[in-house]
Amino acid sequence: MKLAAVLAFASLAHAQTAAALAARGAELLEANRPAEALSAFTRSLRLNPAEVEALSGMGFLLYSQNQFSAARTYLEKAVAARPQSFQARFLLAATLVQLKQTQPAITQLRQALLRNPAHLDARKLLATQLLEIRQFREAVTVLQPVVETLPPDEEVHLILIEARQTSGDTAAAFALAQKAAARFPNSGQILTWLGFQLQFAGRYEAAKPPLLRAMEIEPAFAVPAQVLGDIYLKEENFTEAIRWLNRAAEKMPDDAEVLLSLSRAQAESGASSEALETLQRAARAAPTDARVHFHLSRLYFRLGDEPKAQEAAALSVRLRDTQSPVSPAPASLRLRR
């Protein structure tokens, strides 16, 4: 009995030491002393390989150094050692997102949110991952309960607008964009979404002021110019369309959607050689985008080169077999979230 008590005490002391080292490592991390933190976590794990704080700390440290595969190993051990840990699961999920492991990330985020449903960043991360796999409705379900949280969170609004839009619920997306514009009147992104929504609903004149305002607020942001160009393209004002789409293309020279719109405006205005040049640029920027080759095929045909039209059309059809349907929202706007 005596020996057992001594062993139990020794084990506790051992554990306390590992825990203390893990805590020290966390403090060092906080103080931006990563090398020393690494040493503390390593010593902690040497004493107790299942020390959750050390595993989590090590994972976080490696994550912050962009060593995602190594971080994943530690974080998976942390989750296995303490399945109830919100922090370990959230960190693991963030790491999996970086490794483009969308489905496992979603699994971890769902588990994490069961433990801490109020965590806004976890909700936002889960929603963005759900959008990646086109689970738009679940993304809405994840974010809708927190959109009215105070203080309002701009990112929540942006992701939710996108989720509504891509799920086909354009009326709700539009309503939210209007509400968001009132809450964040100086957000270039929100105003751009509002302009996009108005354009999508055919309200071209109403769409222009928020887009122009977005450009004032964020001069480097190209998407408002892109959407404005698309509006003029629909209005068949090709001169204005080319002007704004050129401005967008200056800022996003490799954006296929901008180049596609620009080439259409050029072709419609009779500038066929410029249109062809723009499309060839789009093909270099996005060689696997079926729509680029579709537009190329049409332009070649208009220019009287049917063999090239056939070639581009065949490539477009082949590429479509491997691509999922395209979202109606501009990719560049989605990427800004």
Binding site: R137, Q165, T166, S167, G168, D169, T170, A171, F174, F200, A201, G202, R203, K234, E236, L260, R264, A290, R291, F294, H295, S297, R298, Y300, F301, R302, E306, A309, Q310, A312, A313, S316, V317, R320, D321, P325, V326, P328
Partner: protein
């Protein structure tokens, strides 16, 4: 069915003009009371959602349009009626002569094409089906005989025949036959609703398809002139796999080279344009001539097709219907450089909440501009319980051609027949009471059809041309009919099937507005010969026989 989340666009400023047409459903009073069956009320398979065709035809050559209704079937034990033929009594009513005519055949019928394939002076019927197709030869005595097996067009196995069209693709005066096939369907191998992740819609289990179900290939049969056909699908290039789900069909000279081409609307995949190479082969060119996708290069869920020169520039344009959350297409023919989609510019983007099926161009008010009718109806019964504004039964849509490249939505101003809610599919246009006003016949899922009588109050004149080929095929399928009146030309093309699965009045109808005279009638016959008649009276049916125009 592809869905793209399209928003309803704001209606353009109203023209302020009075639309003089009102439609009333007179089907029951006219005796068209038998329902067209297409599946059970709880639809487990996509086959039960597609509906079946309708036709206006004059099977007894008495100058009055009769009605043919294709019937589908059902998987449950409820009664399964056969096809229906109604003879026009010339007093606004019809008599069901289906059994006597030998047409009451039970099948999973789909579409109907009508033409005189054997040039004997009597209109014949080709009916596609899931199963074997039927070629009902009109024996000239009020009866029909299914000669499909003997003629070699029944199909060599169970296929899902969808749209079909007679076409004299080699211009030898004999009508050949194009048959589209939708997909490969086997109920034993098709997952039930919700049993596959793809078999859900808005979170509810629904029938599967078309995506996920195997593609089929299309068929072309060459008429041998002896009552039989040869399958030339492979040799002509038509039979090559295109990985599309083919539905509506148009056979017409769309590129103005005097050889008939084929355009096929495809569901959830790119649509196909088979260009006639004038040597017995076809080249698929839809992508680069602008008929495969919308203007952004997005795939659509195409259903039905209509053909007209809607803008009066002498070229044939195309309207195509699509699934909900999308807009219809209005492909304007630009001549040598292909087509461009003008649907939104023309004002057709107002109602993306409807699944649209049949498209019909016809001049309902006889003002000289073809208007556009669209039938609507959802495919999922479940939609009424789901969080969406879409409904299973919908009103019809009517767009009035304003003559400036734009259309005005007059659906709610065009009478009770236009506003009645059904889940409609096929539709045909024709003047069944010979009053010079174009009426409508519409298929409603598991209900009797609607027969919308046109009560146009505008004092407009009209002119109909009924064509008989002699050197060309007798039905003049593939003829281009042009009319000049008061300096304006109008163009109509003679088809054996259009809309969705349906057959319009075989007579070419022209509204003349306030002008009571046709200055010139010009017919380009299917063999390329052109004949002209001059100074014809309005408000009549003119019988134009090939080779009889004054020199």
């Amino acid at each position: 069915m592809a869905s793209r989340g399209a928003a309803a666009l704001p209606a353009p400023t109203a023209s302020g003009r009075f639309f003089p047409v009102s439609f009333t459903d007179v089907a029951a009073a006219a005796g068209l009371r038998s329902p067209q069956i297409a599946g059970g009320e709880s639809r487990k398979f996509i086959l039960e959602a597609m509906g079946s065709g309708v036709a206006f035809l004059d099977y007894d050559n008495d100058g009055w349009l009769d009605v043919f209704l294709v019937n589908g079937s059902r998987f449950d034990a409820a009664p399964k009626p056969g096809h229906h033929l109604y003879k026009n009594n010339r007093d606004g009513t019809f008599t069901d002569v289906s059994v006597k005519a030998g047409l009451a055949k039970v099948a999973w019928g789909q579409s109907v094409a009508a033409a005189d394939f054997d040039n004997d002076g009597h209109i014949d019927l080709f009916v596609t089906a899931w199963g074997r197709n039927a070629l009902f030869r009109n024996q000239g005595d009020g009866t029909f005989l299914d000669v499909a097996p003997k003629a070699g067009v029944a199909g060599d196995r169970t296929r899902w025949g969808s749209g079909a069209s007679f076409i004299d693709y080699d211009r030898d005066g004999l009508l050949d036959l194009f048959v589209a096939n939708y997909l490969v369907f086997d109920p034993a191998r098709t997952p039930l609703p919700g049993k596959d992740p793809a078999c859900n819609w808005l979170g509810a289990p629904v029938f599967c398809g078309p995506r996920g179900l195997p593609f089929a290939t299309n068929l072309l049969y060459r008429n041998n002139g002896d009552g039989t056909f040869s399958d030339v699908s492979a040799a002509s290039g038509i039979g090559a796999s295109q990985k599309t789900y083919a539905l509506g069909v148009l056979a017409a000279d769309l590129d103005g080279d005097n050889w008939p081409d084929l355009y096929v609307a495809s569901d959830s995949s790119r649509s196909l344009f088979y260009h006639n190479n004038a040597n017995g082969t076809f080249t698929e060119r839809a992508t680069y001539i602008g008929l495969a996708y919308d203007e952004n290069g997005m795939e659509q869920a195409g259903m039905g097709l209509a053909l007209a020169d809607y803008d009066g520039d002498g070229r044939l344009d195309i309207a195509k219907t699509n699934f909900a959350d999308d807009y219809p297409n209005l492909y304007r023919n630009l001549g040598k450089v292909g087509f461009t989609d003008r649907a939104l510019f023309a004002g057709l983007g107002l109602h993306p909440q409807y699944v649209l099926w049949s498209a019909i161009f016809a001049d309902f008010d006889n003002d000289g501009w073809p208007d556009l009718f669209l039938s609507a109806g959802h495919i999922f019964n479940e939609v009424d319980r789901l969080p969406t504004p879409q409904k299973f039964r919908n009103p019809r849509l009517l767009y009035w051609n304003l003559g400036d490249g734009k259309f005005e939505d007059v659906s709610t101003r065009a009478g009770p027949g236009m506003q009645a809610r059904h889940s409609s599919r096929a539709a045909a246009a024709g003047d069944f009471d010979n009053d010079g006003r174009v009426d409508l016949l519409i298929m409603n899922m598991n209900q009797p059809p609607s027969l919308l009588k046109n009560a146009n109050t505008a004092p407009h004149h009209w002119f109909d041309a009924r064509l008989t080929g002699t050197a060309s095929n007798r039905s003049a399928i593939g003829a281009k009919v042009r009319v000049e009146s008061a300096g304006r030309w109008q163009t109509v093309f003679i088809l054996s099937q259009s809309g969705y699965y349906s057959v319009n009045d075989p007579r070419a109808h022209f509204g003349l507005g306030t002008v009571a005279k046709v200055d010139r009638l010009e017919i380009t016959w299917p063999n390329g010969n052109v004949e002209t008649w001059r100074n014809l009276e309005a408000d009549r049916v003119f019988l134009a026989t090939e080779g009889t125009a004054p020199k």
